[in-house]
Symmetry: C2
Subunit: 353 residues, 2 copies
């Protein structure tokens, strides 16, 4: 058993972990170990949205245009493709690109031949919406969790190795305890997102200014390898309840500090959905995320249903679960929306305020 | 909004509360305010057990004999009567007496005319089992919570007043945050209960030695005033799930650090059950109690069902809820069993070890 916090980021705690040192988790879990040289992780969500389902091929094609530029120098070592239908009914394709250095990301972003296309006036008139949401949390403000030890997802794909079984999981507050920064800071936040009036805004290109200590979670599952009773239970009992919770956060999350939520399904290179999905949500603070997770009826239903299925399956699951959580300063976040509807991403919170 | 920790017990925190200072609970709750002079609360559980239901009248009669002595000098200002069927199928009647001073309790216990009867050899041969379990937590290690502000239960009946709406509730870990001692200590525990070989043990009078930081919870509900849909939901949906959780703790709780659990129903002066019940359980540590409450399927089911009903009732409930939690040092606990079966109360944990 080891700590989820990597050795090079451990320090004497001024803020105790919620679980005691003798705590033993009820089942095993693992975390990804980034190389100690990694100071910041970059997660860049590039999105293309369209109002009508008939425009989906054009939107996906535009997304592939973007990912084509990932192969240029200093491009991301890894990216995912996914899609979702948002609160306004817009079909949205997303490429999530991961870098293990802010410098590499800046190098790519500064020199990519994508820039001329991205900045062209044509992006305002080709009938699609485009956005870029970038989070660059420090390694001290980033954590992962995996229920299986044979495959990574998301930012963890850049990891050097997997941990041994870790201690800080299986109780509410464990995600915080896994964040190295929780050893010495509360990660509280204040302020609200606002449209950045100082940013260049030709036509309807909008930048949103965020605030310190926004929390981000990507929490996913893959049911490719499930079969028989487990598959049936997942599809008929777990997934519908998960969907309800995701829709609550998407449509009403603003009332409890969730800026936006997207329940996405991975797609392959042709835009075809595969059997992997994840919720990705952005929160006013880690505490707001914690409160929803641990006490809101919609998440209690998800958790309770899942726990029941785990028991029915006698803890023998082929379902794969993981998540990544980060907390970012204002200057570690970029939100840019081009020709997007006004409820897109952080635009909604910025216009509500 | 005020802190659950009374002003005279507040101090600079060396251990942060789990919720931030800006946290706002999703619904109101209150705590009982004991007089500042109260240094220790005494809760004495006197029990009489019988194997056969036909012996219940004799057992209840013996309990009334005990409560008759409560009227002697320095007797408890308040006591409750309740009954339950334990893990061995024994019907057990309990009187729970509360004092607001350890000195008063000692004065009563030292001079009560009950003592000769309690210590008589006849208690070993009259066919009943008797026990006394006393907890004397310091005020710094005791907290309450009420969902309604018009009536107290349990130790709170000794309170001087009700608080205003308090901040530390509505999230896991809030009970700990309400304990004044959580400001500066972890309340971890070690050790296991054992039969006290040094204690006088004529016949089968047994004393069990406990250890530091055992946690005790009494968590109750009254449905007297519910009607219509709420009553139907409580009786058909909430209570059966609650009962399942209580039975799990009673029968299997030992596997997760629960020394014993009793799901009791209040009885009136004639031994007739009334529409009030509570679970009373004793734990290896507060952390063990926290882990069950927040993550065990049996409690997630209770919590989830209750939350669903609360929503169905639009937060308009006549159901009354309360709890009291305390953490006691070894020298603040007394466990004495006379002619009881070996799984009674802390005897089970003492003989398992």
């Amino acid at each position: 058993m080891e700590s989820a916090i990597p050795a090079h980021l451990r320090c004497p705690r001024t803020r105790p972990a919620r679980a005691s040192e003798t705590y033993e988790p009820p089942y095993p879990a693992w975390v990804a170990r980034l190389r100690p040289q990694v100071k910041q992780v970059v997660m860049a969500y590039f999105g293309v949205q369209c109002r009508e389902p008939g425009e989906a091929p054009a939107a996906f094609s535009a997304l592939k245009k973007i990912t084509g530029h990932f192969h240029e120098p200093s491009g991301p070592p890894h990216h995912d493709l996914a899609m979702y239908v948002d609160e306004a009914g817009f079909t949205t394709y997303v490429a999530i690109a991961y870098w293990e250095s802010a410098e590499d990301f800046q190098a790519w972003a500064g020199q990519s031949s994508m820039n001329a296309w991205w900045q062209s006036e044509d992006r305002l008139s080709d009938g699609l919406g485009y956005f870029k949401e970038v989070f660059c949390p420090r390694a001290s403000h980033f954590e992962t969790l995996f229920s299986t030890l044979d495959r990574f997802e998301g930012a963890a794909l850049m990891a050097e190795s997997l941990s041994g079984e870790i201690q800080e999981h299986g109780y509410w507050g464990a995600a915080r305890d896994r964040l190295p920064a929780s050893q010495y800071e509360a990660m509280e936040s204040s302020g609200t997102p606002s449209v950045d009036a100082a940013a260049p805004r030709p036509g309807s290109r909008v930048r949103v200014k965020s605030h310190d200590n926004v929390a981000l979670i990507r929490s996913g599952q893959e049911w490719t390898e499930t079969a028989g009773k487990e598959r049936q239970l997942y599809l008929s009992e777990v997934e519908p309840i998960l969907l309800q919770g995701m829709q609550f956060l998407r449509d009403k999350g603003g009332t409890i500090g969730c800026y936006f939520n997207r329940y996405m399904v991975h797609v392959n290179g042709e835009g075809i959905p595969i059997e992997k999905s994840f919720g990705m949500s952005c929160w006013k603070s880690l505490e707001h995320l914690e409160r929803w997770a641990e006490s809101h009826p919609t998440h209690i239903a998800i958790f309770g249903t899942f726990m029941r299925v785990v028991q029915e399956m006698n803890f023998d699951l082929r379902l794969r679960l993981y998540h990544e959580v980060s907390v970012a300063r204002a200057d570690e976040q970029v939100f840019e929306y081009i020709n997007c509807h006004p409820k897109t991403g952080l635009l909604r919170a910025a216009s509500d305020s």
